[in-house]
């Protein structure tokens, strides 16, 4: 080992250590922010390691520098701009987009090496392992890219699931695509430089990514993004084999495995198995048959009536959902709860594990609006407290407060943990209309005698509520 190699080795070791500490720290509230920075520093070290190694051995020609700087500037600045501009409400889509680009990067590396085999000559040094890693990198990278883009488009509402995709036919299509990719992969493994097999694999796995992601319903989407995130780690590890970088293999494997665990944690939160998320079809798919039907006995009321009830309450629980995020109403909500608190009313927030479009979505949103962290209660903590609650304010949440999940064994939601809001004395549901929730399933809560609907956009209703509460003088006398 010469000096350069030792230096590069030391840098890599430090980078791996920092990355591992970073991932570990990200799972604790107290250390999360520092951990994120630590991981970023580790990535910087890793880049320096590669550059030092190349400078000390083969050198880097000027032309290579130009392309490096070009790629860095364009990609980096676009990334920074996107990260700065995107509103907090569309975090899930953003993560999906970033993730897809990571997959694309691995795919391109593998393609480059596959097209120009002479360029590779990594530690894998040609042969079977390199062929396999190219195949894995192309396959996983391609799936990650298309899958993430579809996930993003669906969350953005740019794309909805075509009906045939919800039928059983999609399984046949996906199996056909998987077989097509497999054949191409085997062909590629047998004769390394087979251009048509390579493109067949790219297209087959790309379409497979679309086919698998497209039918998945919104509530399950976070799980899919987390899984795709894990895939992009696998793709990175495979790319590590292709170019012969152990650091890349370690980091990719860590992210892949950690992503898998996170996916499992998310599934547990929804009481769903990974298999049923991926192959059981969207909850919405079966809704037409199960638990459908028209609403009867709906009571609706105005913001004024709602304000009167709130004024008389002692304990209020707010249940935020995706509707709140869409309406960007978190700040207005905070104003309303400030008035209530000033009036001596106890306000807490019930956070369902999968409220919104991503676990933790509501926490991020409410934190943005300065809601104290300790007022956010997790489902297990808040559920026993509902019977002692005067008013529950459901803001743009639907499936997570559907009592069907506990009572109706035929319901597709059955078994999913829900918030028992119906136990409270009065429930107000703020909702734009009577349309079904993301799962497309009827919500029995809306028909209960102690439930009143307040129709309207969450922000507008909360604004009206604020005016009414102020007119009533709530919070003035303290």
């Amino acid at each position: 080992m010469n000096t350069v190699e030792i230096l590069k080795f030391a840098i890599d070791l430090v980078a791996v250590l920092l990355l591992a500490l970073g991932i570990k720290g990200l799972s604790k509230v107290r250390s999360a922010r520092e951990a994120n920075r630590l991981a970023a520093v580790a990535m910087g070290f890793a880049v320096i390691g590669v550059l030092v190694n190349s400078l000390g051995t083969t050198g880097i020609v000027a032309e290579a520098w130009i392309w490096i700087i070009l790629g860095t500037l364009v990609g980096g600045s676009l990334g920074a701009m996107t990260a700065q501009r995107v509103p907090m409400t569309s975090m899930p889509e953003t993560v999906a987009l970033f993730n897809g680009c990571g997959g694309m990067s691995s795919l391109l590396v593998a393609l480059g090496v596959a097209i120009f085999p002479a360029a590779a000559a990594g530690e894998a040094g040609g042969g079977l392992v390199e062929d396999i890693s190219i195949v894995v990198s192309v396959f996983v990278g391609s799936i990650t890219f298309t899958g993430s883009i579809v996930a993003m488009a669906k969350l953005q509402g740019w794309l909805s699931t075509p009906p045939w995709m919800q039928s059983r036919a999609r399984h046949a299509v996906n199996i056909a695509l998987a077989v097509m990719s497999l054949v191409a992969a085997i062909e590629l493994g047998r004769h390394g430089d087979n251009a048509s097999a390579l493109w067949l694999l790219v297209i087959g796995s790309g379409l497979l990514g679309i086919g698998v992601t497209l039918p998945i319903g919104g509530a399950d989407m976070p799980v899919v993004i987390s899984l795709l995130n894990s895939y992009s780690g696998v793709a990175a590890a495979a790319a590590g084999f292709v170019v012969g970088s152990q650091l890349l293999i370690v980091a990719g494997a860590m992210v892949g495995a950690a992503g898998l665990i996170l996916t499992q944690v998310m599934c547990d939160g929804m009481n769903r198995s990974l298999v049923s998320v991926l192959f059981g079809g969207a909850l919405g798919a079966s809704s037409a048959s199960g638990g459908g039907g028209e609403y009867t006995n709906i009571t609706s009321c105005s913001a004024e009536e709602c304000a009167l009830t709130l004024e008389a309450a002692e304990r209020v629980v707010v249940v935020p959902g995706y509707g709140l995020a869409v309406a960007q109403a978190q700040h207005t909500l905070r104003e309303v709860t400030r008035v209530l608190e000033a009036g001596g009313i106890e306000v807490t927030y019930a956070i369902h594990p999968v409220a919104g479009r991503m676990p933790g979505h509501m926490n991020v949103l409410l934190a943005e609006a300065d809601v104290p962290y300790e007022q956010l209660k997790e489902m297990d903590v808040i559920n026993p407290e509902f019977p002692a609650t005067d008013v529950v304010l459901v803001l743009g949440a639907n499936d997570v407060v559907n009592p069907q999940a506990k009572t109706d064994t035929t319901s597709p939601l059955y078994g999913m943990p829900v918030l028992d809001v119906q136990e409270a004395r009065t429930v107000f549901v703020v909702k734009r209309g009577m349309s079904a929730g993301y799962s497309g399933i009827k919500n029995d809560l809306f028909e209960l005698a102690n439930t009143s609907m307040v129709f309207g956009d969450a922000k507008k209703v909360l604004g009206d509520l604020l005016v009414e509460l102020k007119e009533l003088g709530v919070g003035k006398k303290g």
Binding site: F98, G127, L262, V364
Partner: protein, 104 residues
Amino acid sequence: MSIPTEALWVLLLGSLLGLELIGKVPPTLHTPLMSGANAISGITMLAALTLIIKAGADGNAALLAIGSVSLGFALFNVIGGFLVTDRMLAMFSRKSARRKDTNS
């Protein structure tokens, strides 16, 4: 044909490490953790970098371009991922900082 046994060991141990790193994660941190891990998966930029350097040495213009695009995608992932995670986490830490102020 050579089998890179070391690299396979690295793969195995890295996977095991990843499985152990995350135990119980509070729901609050699911999104930031996912986002942070996602940024780290952009580590494939190292592969892109290696590819460009090699292509430069070989004078392979097409591969230089492929590598550069790949590097761009990876950096979009890395820079964007870390910044967005930091933005999310900043909200939590700002909160606790303020709480400390009011308590004291």
